[in-house]
Symmetry: D3
Subunit: 159 residues, 6 copies
Amino acid sequence: MDFPHLDDSGRARMVDVTAKEPTVRSATARGAVHCSAEVVDRLRTGSVPKGDVLAVARIAGIQAAKSTPTLLPLAHVIGVHGATVDLTVTDDGVEIEATVRTADRTGVEMEALTAVSVAGLAVIDMVKGLDRTASLHDVRVVAKSGGRSGDWRRPGEPG
Amino acid sequence: MDFPHLDDSGRARMVDVTAKEPTVRSATARGAVHCSAEVVDRLRTGSVPKGDVLAVARIAGIQAAKSTPTLLPLAHVIGVHGATVDLTVTDDGVEIEATVRTADRTGVEMEALTAVSVAGLAVIDMVKGLDRTASLHDVRVVAKSGGRSGDWRRPGEPG
Amino acid sequence: MDFPHLDDSGRARMVDVTAKEPTVRSATARGAVHCSAEVVDRLRTGSVPKGDVLAVARIAGIQAAKSTPTLLPLAHVIGVHGATVDLTVTDDGVEIEATVRTADRTGVEMEALTAVSVAGLAVIDMVKGLDRTASLHDVRVVAKSGGRSGDWRRPGEPG
Amino acid sequence: MDFPHLDDSGRARMVDVTAKEPTVRSATARGAVHCSAEVVDRLRTGSVPKGDVLAVARIAGIQAAKSTPTLLPLAHVIGVHGATVDLTVTDDGVEIEATVRTADRTGVEMEALTAVSVAGLAVIDMVKGLDRTASLHDVRVVAKSGGRSGDWRRPGEPG
Amino acid sequence: MDFPHLDDSGRARMVDVTAKEPTVRSATARGAVHCSAEVVDRLRTGSVPKGDVLAVARIAGIQAAKSTPTLLPLAHVIGVHGATVDLTVTDDGVEIEATVRTADRTGVEMEALTAVSVAGLAVIDMVKGLDRTASLHDVRVVAKSGGRSGDWRRPGEPG
Amino acid sequence: MDFPHLDDSGRARMVDVTAKEPTVRSATARGAVHCSAEVVDRLRTGSVPKGDVLAVARIAGIQAAKSTPTLLPLAHVIGVHGATVDLTVTDDGVEIEATVRTADRTGVEMEALTAVSVAGLAVIDMVKGLDRTASLHDVRVVAKSGGRSGDWRRPGEPG
């Protein structure tokens, strides 16, 4: 078994998926931004609590899902037919979950991971003036459905 | 003290930096992809060990640094005047470090964080066929120099 | 009835269209640039009447139709399978009509509106050195066909 | 006097601005989305009044200001060093005002007009399911400052 | 017979392909970068022979295939479902071959030509510090398959 | 002497130009599209001779100059402060010349080469329905000025 994105000589390629059927596929990813107690407090109780902060991050995440083939050299250009990005303020910072859906030829795990990552970066961009140590953690796929490999849920992940 | 990206009503804005001086600024960020021992082994000793894998990720990271104002809604359009992305295979996966340099009006911390994140996503994209649990961790700024706030090194970070 | 782009908590999302059938859909939009009599005269009878002006605007409009999912955060990535942009010099400035066609899962009204708007902005960009008051007006969908909601023509609009 | 974007043969070109000085420049543009009384009512008093609607449009406008050289063929690649987009719900729909600032070689009137137009299109995208006649009106520059031609305010425009 | 991209008045348009069937289509293009014997020697036997040079060009070519509708005004937005770019160092410089595959409504000849051209430009970018005369040559389609016009091989081209 | 874009281990990097002075720089590139006598004839004497063909290519070239840092992984994000693209119909096809100017930290040779290449690809896109053998040739820098290495004219090139 070898890396599917490399040919026999180790050269990168975009894997040919023309023979795959367009079917409904979905992927959900999660991750978290850690930031200081002061920032968390301000996100919850400031004079303008949160304001547009979570909206900006949500939109950045949705837009990033659509930019995946531009960002990842070997990703396919596919239709993006549904996307949600949810952010929740916690005691440690902000938790992020993104779900992307398509009716096309490849899975959308990378689109979901990209949405979570960029939403997290957008949060960091907005809070870095208050906490320069803000950081992004544990970006991972937690579930996928559809496609040849079928449904999968990451072991140990809450539903 | 409030979020600089929000006005008094909590509305997002791109902060005005026209009064800032263009000076040489630099930022370094780090992060890591975790993946299975099997993938690590293949990255080290396969029949085509690594092949283009690290090159693809390196280039994805450099390109992403340049895409930062497209990805992050409130980021400024600035010149990107230098960028390096280094990847090292470890026992746990791949460690990533990116340094971005500019001679412009804002810091480039977000450019460095974006480079690390997208380089990590590119690694995950290439190994996900072998390990669907591959994930991105601990993306953070470790050092910056230049600009009004001067030099900074993240406490506890190796040099 | 609520905004389809908002969930129950008012959070933006990209509406899931995976269950929609790919069918042929079309949308036509119109709008107008108003500019001074002097600019209109020059567009008609200058030493190089018009030159590339209308071609530049036409191409900007066609390109913009393709950029719709990048510009509008909640728009889907779909195929764009046909586009025309027509510009007509009138006594008041330039009238613009764009028609976009697709064989995909969503309507293309936003693609047509985006084509008209950006074609108009391109005209303004080229004439603003002669008339800084040039402006964009009445950008609206005038007809659509295909999709679940079927054909529609804007009341009172000439055919 | 001829179109500055055309050479003597009428061919489009990007005007050479290398000899211009980088100075602080600002431009403000306005426009309006017209939509039905029902949509206005829902924007004001629905169960989730507005939700992210205005935030999505604001961010789309800010992002579009940065995309101006991609959208308008003859526009220069310049730094965008500040941007605000404000939306106000009125009896007729939504009024939009955008201000863009730069410390670079050209004015930013087109950036401000593009921000208003795309913010308006984003509003239309979100309300079109409730009102397919929603439309964009009166997109114009209302003020500019800086650069060789100095300050200007559109006659008859409220401050 | 006239240019299909022009209407009866000579105005550019994106040809309507909504009536075409999505089928598997493929196109292969070739071209060459010419550069000095010194650069060729360095690509073959330097202290870090080639390093990432060919990988950078390969990835630039794959990415460019995906950017075709952004670069070419009248090109359609279609799915890109497979892409390979191969580079070979020769006595005269670097030979490039790209193959692009899709299961969509139009041929991918332009995608293959764009991949070869941009891969070649990326090579020139990397060697221009050593040889400012490096240049791009003979970019042409050598074979296509699928679609209404069926299979074709360029006369006189080696298989 | 080694490739400046590779570090000591052969890894690609974006060269640091923060220490370079912003100065006025210019580069001119040329190339040619070869196509059949029939296409040349149609470009000259058809019922709609040329129509928008050369305008589309000219605009594609200007836009491509601005896209250079997106297309070429190691190219810097710089200001593009002037661009012209000229196309001339000849007995063999279309000759293309592009000049790009900047007042920034790096030369613009790659921007000029990219403009010529993409203008040529746009021509091929428009004529390929009439001549599938249309091809791109001899894309090279013919002159540059400004910057540390000063002025240069390609030997043997007409002025």
